[in-house]
């Protein structure tokens, strides 16, 4: 039986067992490979997407549970060729090395900034604790999130 999901503003009918993690539907069925598999256990944050605006680990969400809520992935952030401020801030700060964690870091940070537009470094640390970066780019990521918050406030003015 097909499950209907909405991803980045588009609706899709997918035929997957309802307990299939959303991550694999996004990657294998919809070809949205920006969302990464890092552990499949909700421990690394590489698969973070926004579910109804809130950052969630897509490896822990059964596709059936995503049916009622809009999903935003890293591919859905860019608007008319313009990067989301968080993407721009990561780019400006060089806040990645291998960059495999970047999609998850960006999505988590977008989630943080929606609820806290001007986070202190310790609040960013707390919020991103579940996102693993193995290359050790953490200081620049904190810097990028703070910078993104400022950009978003300026754009909102």
């Amino acid at each position: 039986m097909a499950i209907e999901i909405e991803v980045n503003g588009k609706r899709y009918a997918v035929s997957y067992p309802p307990d299939t993690p959303l991550l694999f539907v996004l990657r294998d069925e919809l070809g949205l490979t920006g969302t990464k598999y890092g552990c499949g256990e909700g421990q690394c944050g590489a698969c973070t997407v926004l579910l109804a605006g809130a950052p969630r680990r897509s490896c822990q969400i059964p596709v059936s549970a995503a049916a009622a809520k809009p999903v935003t992935t890293i591919e859905g952030l860019e608007k008319e060729g313009k990067l989301h401020p968080v993407q721009q801030a990561f780019l400006d700060a060089g806040a990645f090395q291998c960059a495999y964690c970047t999609s998850g870091m960006v999505m988590s940070s977008v989630g943080l900034l929606q609820s806290n537009a001007n986070p202190k470094p310790e609040e960013i640390v707390q919020f991103l604790q579940g996102n693993v970066c193995r290359c050790g780019t953490h200081p620049r990521i904190i810097e990028a999130v703070q910078h993104a918050g400022k950009m978003m406030q300026e754009r909102a003015r």
């Binding site: 694999f24 920006g34 291998c98 707390q126 290359c135 050790g136 953490h138 620049r140």
Partner: protein, 719 residues
């Protein structure tokens, strides 16, 4: 890594290099060839093979076969003016795509944006032994400078011929050749049009001194950065081919287990599922990952398990099982230890243990394999594309020319992606399925079936005179390896010895190899000696150290750190360590805070000075240095693989702790730019001083000397 020319002599701890491929099968053979577009091409050829080649007319014959192994890098200026560099090196986060592009642009006098780099593709790039050992910058930078300079001179020669003027007066700049007299100019694109010029060059030192670099030396941003922040970059695990299946491999329940019985009838009955049982390999391929998992779960197996060594006994096991035959081979001696010890006012003997740790690159091992027209193409995130190709050719009994390995820029490796496991598995499944197959290891597979940084035991005997001068230094490393095993300190009487031990867990390279273990033991021991002599640890080191580059990093780090620091609150401690390896120098100072009630340990601040000769890209270098410090904190404080009777007991991020945001201290990285010294690699050495610096700071805070890595896997219990 030792090199003789560009031939590699692997250290003994690179166990994975000599290991057999994990599976062996049958396959058929075919051919392949490649084509280069028109334009201007320059090849760097290893010096000793150039003389032989000069007798043969023309450029190396890369049309019929693969490129000769002697070609180490090459460059192509196309009819569109695009400059393409070709290297067998792989990008996995260390940012060499950017730094090499900078070097090419700099020497060829073209904008950075017009350079692209083809990397790690066995059909398109020259042979390369692999991306490891901090070799990319010291070998590729001078070579690409040579090819770029030669290409520039060729372009000038073409322009000179066109205008019928002597080449000496012409100037190459901004991707154009200009005649200052007549003010004529031709772009590189115009000059390359319709040409098929090629030139061979010997590999030699760089020509443009670092003081005159214009694009190299600058903090340019990562090439293709936008593709990474938008998620559009395709890592191996993102590659999707038409009709591709998803593969899963059945793993034994423990190391060394052999298959006793097997029933795959239920799996074979599933629609669209291919089951492969070949030798010790059992795997499935299915149209989706969940169908593959379902099929794998349906296979019934019984295994015969054999007893295995466990982590609780590993250090005594390593000590007991050293191979006596290795002793003399890996022994270095000078002076007389007996005399040195007899002359000592203080003696100190100690043993240090280092646990197995895992690389845990965030992108697990992955491969996509496709058989078509008798040829095998594999996309895989490996540090050794050519070695992977050769292994694939070997296990499938195909000629190497029929196997192509392509390395997409990879989700990190840290020395952990040298072998071709996932590539072989995907290819084996693809061969039977008749369709492309993707295999992506799970995190648990990555933690269990990859290889580890080897555990080790290090024993040190030492003596110092009353004035703090070292009189004797005897250093034995069991199993972990001999990288940076030699002390950089001045000591007349010394023995260093590496003792090989047969593998317990599958082991191999890890960022810096055994240099981290050897630095940990040496620098912890030096700290303890300084205390015994009642000397400041910095003063003690400087007293025994004449190497000017090492002294410079020590002085830079301690100055910025404010050494010696006074304790202003209980639980605070300060430590330092230094070291050198692969032509670069590092010194780190650490401040820790110990909560005596809970045993909680926090690294508060790290100041690290690093010097690797002339800096090619200070921004990328800073990322590498800060990254090494943070990664190093994991192995220093809490990372350890636990295993019991052939099973890894902590194969998850929930149970194997890696550094996270809360573990990250305030970090200051001081980069010393020595424009008078040729650039060394920087991926490894910055990790080496962090563990001893933190351990020494913990001693300063608590008076407890911790001689094992990790230092505080469960906090500081007795503090």
């Amino acid at each position: 890594m030792n090199t003789i020319g560009e031939r590699l002599v692997a250290e003994p701890e690179r166990y994975e290099f000599s290991a057999l491929p994990i599976h062996q099968f049958d396959l058929a053979r075919r051919d392949f060839f490649k084509i280069l577009g028109a334009g201007i091409a320059v090849f760097v050829v290893a010096k000793d093979t150039l003389a032989a080649q000069e007798t043969a007319p023309g450029s190396p014959s890369f049309h019929s076969e693969e490129l000769p192994k002697e070609i180490t890098s090459w460059l192509h200026v196309g009819e569109d003016g695009v400059v393409t560099g070709f290297t067998g090196k792989a990008e996995m986060g260390q940012n060499i795509r950017t730094s090499i592009s900078q070097t090419l642009a700099d020497e060829l006098r073209v904008p950075f944006e017009s350079v692209r780099l083809v990397m790690g593709d066995t059909s398109l790039t020259p042979f390369d032994a692999g991306t490891f050992g901090s070799r990319t910058t010291p070998t590729m930078t001078p070579q690409f400078r040579r090819v770029a300079e030669a290409a520039r001179n060729l372009l000038i020669a073409v322009a000179a011929k066109e205008w019928n003027v002597p080449p000496e007066g012409l100037v190459a700049a901004d991707a154009k050749v200009t005649d200052p007299t007549s003010k004529r100019s031709l772009t590189y694109a115009e000059l390359a049009r319709g040409k098929t010029l090629a030139q061979n060059l010997p590999a030699e030192d760089p020509i443009t001194p670092a003081t005159e670099w214009k694009i190299a030396g600058k903090p340019l941003p990562k090439v293709d950065g936008r593709a990474f922040v938008t998620g559009s970059h395709k890592y191996t695990s993102d590659v999707r081919l038409e009709g591709m299946l998803y593969g899963k491999v059945l793993r034994p329940p423990s190391f060394g287990a052999t298959l006793a019985s097997y029933d795959d009838s239920a799996a074979k009955a599933m629609s669209g599922v291919t089951v492969v049982h070949d030798g010790d390999f059992i795997g499935v391929a299915a149209p989706s990952a969940h169908e593959a998992q379902k099929a794998l779960d349906a296979i019934r197996t019984q295994w015969k398990e054999v007893p295995q060594v466990s982590s609780k006994e590993i250090f005594s096991y390593l000590k007991k099982n050293a191979e006596p035959s290795s002793s003399e081979r890996f022994r270095h001696q000078k002076g007389s230890i007996e005399e040195g010890l007899a002359a000592a006012a203080h003696r100190l003997d100690a043993a240090y243990n280092v646990a197995y740790i895992a690389h845990t690159p965030l992108e697990p091992r992955a491969a996509v394999a496709q058989f078509a027209d008798g040829k095998l193409t594999v996309w895989t995130g490996t540090q050794r594309p050519f070695a992977n190709r050769d292994e694939l050719a070997s296990v499938f009994h195909m000629p190497e020319s029929n196997v192509r390995v392509i390395v997409p820029d990879t989700g990190a490796a840290y020395g952990g992606k040298h072998t071709s496991d996932a590539a072989i598995e995907a290819a084996r499944l693809a061969r039977t399925a008749g369709k492309p197959v993707k295999v992506v290891w799970t995190r648990e597979e990555e933690f269990t079936w990859a290889y580890f940084r080897p555990a080790g035991v290090i024993e040190v005997k030492s003596g110092i005179a009353a004035d703090g001068k070292l009189t004797a230094w005897e250093f034995h490393n069991y199993h972990s390896g001999m990288s940076a095993i030699e002390t950089p300190y001045d000591v007349a009487n010394q023995i260093t010895q590496y003792h090989q031990v047969p593998l317990v867990l599958r082991s191999g390279s890890y960022r810096g190899l055994a240099a981290t273990a050897n630095h940990f033991a040496r620098e912890t021991h030096m700290d303890a000696l300084a205390r015994a002599a009642k000397m400041d640890p910095l003063e003690f080191r400087l007293k025994n150290l004449s190497n000017a580059r090492m002294r410079a990093v020590l002085e830079a780090a301690t100055k910025s750190f404010g050494w010696p620091r006074k304790r202003i609150q209980d639980g605070q401690g300060f430590g330092l360590a230094c070291g050198a390896e692969k032509g670069s120098y590092v010194a780190a100072c650490a401040e820790v805070d110990v909560d005596r009630a809970s045993g909680g340990v926090r690294v508060v601040r790290v100041v690290e000075a690093f010097e690797c000769g002339a800096i090619v890209n200070p921004d990328g270098l800073r990322n590498q240095v800060v990254g090494a410090i943070i990664q190093g904190l994991g192995g220093a404080l809490f990372e350890a693989i636990d295993f019991e009777n052939g099973r890894i007991t902590n194969p998850h991020f929930a149970t194997y702790r890696v550094p996270r945001f809360r573990d990250v201290p305030e970090i200051e990285a001081i980069l010393l730019d020595r424009k008078d010294i040729s650039s060394a690699g920087a991926g490894e050495t910055p990790i080496m001083a962090i563990a001893p610096a933190v351990g020494n700071a913990l001693f300063d805070a608590t008076g407890m000397r911790l001689n094992d890595l990790p230092l505080v896997p469960r906090g500081l219990r007795k503090a």
